[in-house]
Symmetry: D3
Subunit: 235 residues, 6 copies
């Protein structure tokens, strides 16, 4: 089984990290390919970035379709471009945000999201609402750091994430924390240690869901909404 | 006051029609410019088309900002790329779908949307839900015609729209009809005549709302969600 | 085009202010008439006041219909009596609360309302919920001042409004502020200056929406819910 | 204990019927007074009627307060003027629509409303939504009869109500029927017989809820929203 | 009329208290029986307790059916096992939580719940959401006390309840308080005295609603969802 | 990794089928154990059955905890007893209904459920609403067959399921079908063949999600709602 992790940004260190984190938990026989667009935006921090990144994701999906890829993971909080990729893909397409929120609602009655930077709260809330989990997600919180600043996962970032998560547990009634950014999987261990509740990185969860959908023989419905687009314009 | 009507597709006849329809109702002193991307997709019929069209809309918005445009209308049902344009724009940005639904909820207690083709029902429902009007919008209906086929507003199209609208009045409890596609303003007259209820073309309504927001001195909030993007990558 | 601003209360200074504010932004050719009931309540601060004011509004609407008025604005936060006026009116009827909330959702991803006095929070939330904007409106806040006390728009009132609005930006995640009372349009300038985000007075926005609906040929649907009442009892 | 049934319309036969139906099931010691406004509207079939009726209800409530009434029932589908009466009343105020819907959700997992005439569907849906029961109420249906035509509870009316209710059971998945009009309590027996599911007349249920709230020592909260109005203008 | 109060836990003092409180307000002719399972759990503080208690409630309901009981009250916050009892019962079954929330929404525009212990917030929110009252219930609060600790209604418990309720009034905008535990009816008096707003104990309200439903001739719908179970396995 | 499939009913053929279906898709190294309660109910067709089955599930979970089981699947449509099992379990607990609905929303924009018998529609809607997917799930449909009758997966059952599913595609706008009963996995193949859209059996999907949560190191949050119960009464 071949699963393509699509990193919407062009920062190579994120792409490498995603692949490593997922390969560590993939089932034997699952080939995990992590890819990023050749040109695009170094991180996805706003709607403009999302638009640019979507073009790159569509190109990656077309290439992967030609290679017979079985499933896709959109490895960006906000699930950038997921509907467009679903039109192109034959196999299932799993967004890391969807996956993280579904996992959170499975292991905790209530949870909060800690994302970054504050201007992306609107994207996180969009996915929460689209999934219908507004009554389970206590709050979307953000720390004031750019995605670009997550290249180095230093102590300052970790401390800020832990502090905001503690506020979520104490003030929101959260019982688990969703990490609102891809590429932070190295924080899961120390944060879980510090907080004592589940800390959820959506990328790994999404990859395993994708694996499971393929194992169950499920593919994207081509009936109506996500049918193959009527024409294939050059991106 | 300069208002830019942004047609997300490249079909010139739609761009021309939009401009004419809006200029006919603009206030004295309002300059209405209808523009389309130089390259892109001839119509917006799926999420893939939306992604491609958004890149073109962003480029148009950047050019219009340089020209001092006061407000924007996104002239496509589904409000393609509206969040990205809002990040770029200083003035208000009004989507024709938002505008049509708001107008419908002002002139009727309940309404239905008649859109095309069926695969875009999901986009129409996305806007209805984002606006929070699910309890006012009785149903999103579709006729099985491509947007491309609306270049000629012939009798067959009109008959199909009227038949579907009659079903909405009789079966859904609708009290007004929202046209789910730009470039159909020529149908408003004959449909209103045939149905006896308000028939709403969002483009004209959106242009007047944009005019009104500018008259009230309102501009897009640059606090957080729709702030100017942190960098300006080449589209 | 004749637009009637219906002030539900009998305090003349509010009626005068509404007219002046709207005439300043009306399109050439739009005649703005601001009217108040001959007898009624000096301000609308509770449901009892709303009931009394509605009778006056219905009388005004009947008189305006006889005069051929093209559209109406209900110039009171809470949109007092709007459904009854819609039954009587042929043209569109726009509530200032509806208009303010729609405008806010166009220029900001999230907003808060600052109204007065606290007992009217319930009316403001009623409109927010009726419009379906609970997920966009972060909070309805109130300052502890009577509507009667807004006759003089003094420094104390301005300071209280700015303080509450700052709390909305800092604590609620609001990105724009909706003024929850008619007759405060003189505060828009200084508040915008102080806060740096859009500050929305619904009356002016409502008047321009009404103008736009008329320009688009839209009238109130007489199919079912808002049809002309079956009899005309003496009010 | 004195409970005032407030009939918002001036048709005496309805007032008499309400009183008789409720006295038949009142607890010993409960005095049931059925009253209607001296002037007003012969039935409540639209928002205009609601506005006129509310003034009469407020006057009745003021008179009853002077008489020491313990609780009120608003005996009209749509719960006309209930918020205004709550401001005036010291004791609890129960709407027949609220009561009917709450009772329906207690005795059935899902239910439908059968109201009349069709133009009042909007009022019934308003109460359903205000109570938050949209997921329990399968549909609001209407038969095409005026309230005025219910003075005589003839075979035609009964047959129409049964036919519409059968459609609700077969097509909506309803498991109980709510009668959407006051003064139909005589239909409860034959309809229950014909349908084999609970048929709910809100007036009787509301009266018993009012009795129960008084027995529990509960009165209307005067903290904020429904506090006594700041002034008492002549109605 | 015979009404069975079903206490899901085995702590006799609670059963005794429930019966006394309800008999004090029952109508002449109403026989109130308070019963608890012979074996089960001493209090209901978690989902595991709910499961155990439900078996006991089903057994009680079967016995009461044989005795011709007219109606039931589930006397536990969270309305433990109510759907199962509704399948067994012929008469209406009223949950104390449902009843409390409905009463609260009748006497106050907004309310908060004060429950215990914190881990049961999820059950309280489940009922709020099932009833559709999320927009009326400002917040579910909890004090950190076990149900077991409510056997003695001492000053410490009262002080904690009052303190949390004051926070609800000041911070949540609540206008009434719902007691989130059965067996606290003795607190209603002192809390009402201290707070000046309605304080609602669901058991008494539920008993009177049950009485009212029976008086109106209403029984549980046996059409579909709550029909008699197809077999009667040994519990 | 050991995953326990908990079949809430005592019908051995279902238990055997569940185990076989899941073992066929489990990753190497995953041990799948399918278990059923020793005593209980032969199928779960109502709330009473759910209550009985939950006691059995709790007992199974306690035994599995002692054996060091890593994760659980509740193999019954309606996710019987899932909250109680989550309190007992250390590892994640995945309901087949939750899993099916999440998978459906991943591979299709809209879907319908086809369950049996009709009286369990209420349970299916409960899970849909709890997950917040009411806007994605077009309809819960049912065929009039008992769960007991699914022991033999004969042609009649298959034909009925296909006919109801075709209605869902044609009338509801569904783009995928969720099977509303465990033990029907043998129908997935022929139904997919006949319908041409994804047909989802929740058990297999749930098992793979459970596998994925364990691989990601996630366990049930013991903070608050699903903490270990304070006492362990004999079931």
């Amino acid at each position: 089984m071949r699963i393509a992790l699509l990193n919407p940004n062009t920062t190579e260190v994120f792409t490498v990290r995603l692949g490593e984190a997922c390969r560590a938990i993939a089932a034997p026989g699952t080939v995990v390919i992590a890819r990023a667009p050749a040109v695009g935006t170094p991180s996805v921090e706003c709607h403009t970035d999302e638009a640019i990144a979507t073009i790159g994701l569509m190109q990656l999906a077309r290439e992967e379709e030609a290679l017979g890829t079985d499933a896709y993971v959109i490895a960006c909080f906000g699930d950038t471009g997921i509907d467009a990729v679903r039109e192109i893909a034959g196999g299932p397409v799993v967004g890391m945000t969807e996956a993280a929120l579904q996992a959170a609602s499975t292991v905790a009655a209530f949870f909060s999201v800690v994302t970054l930077p504050p201007r992306t709260i609107v994207q996180a809330e969009r996915v929460v609402r689209h999934l219908g989990l507004s009554h389970r997600c206590r709050k979307v919180r953000a720390i004031d750091v750019l995605v670009d600043d997550c290249v180095d996962l230093d102590e300052t970032l970790l401390a800020a994430m832990i502090a905001e998560s503690r506020a979520a547990l104490a003030q929101d009634g959260a019982e688990a924390i969703v990490l609102g950014c891809a590429g932070l999987s190295a924080l899961v261990g120390p944060m879980t240690q510090a907080l004592g509740v589940p800390v959820i990185d959506g990328v790994g969860v999404a990859m395993k869901i994708a694996e499971g959908l393929v194992a169950n023989g499920l593919r994207t419905s081509k009936h109506c909404s996500w049918a193959t687009p009527p024409r294939h314009p050059a991106a």
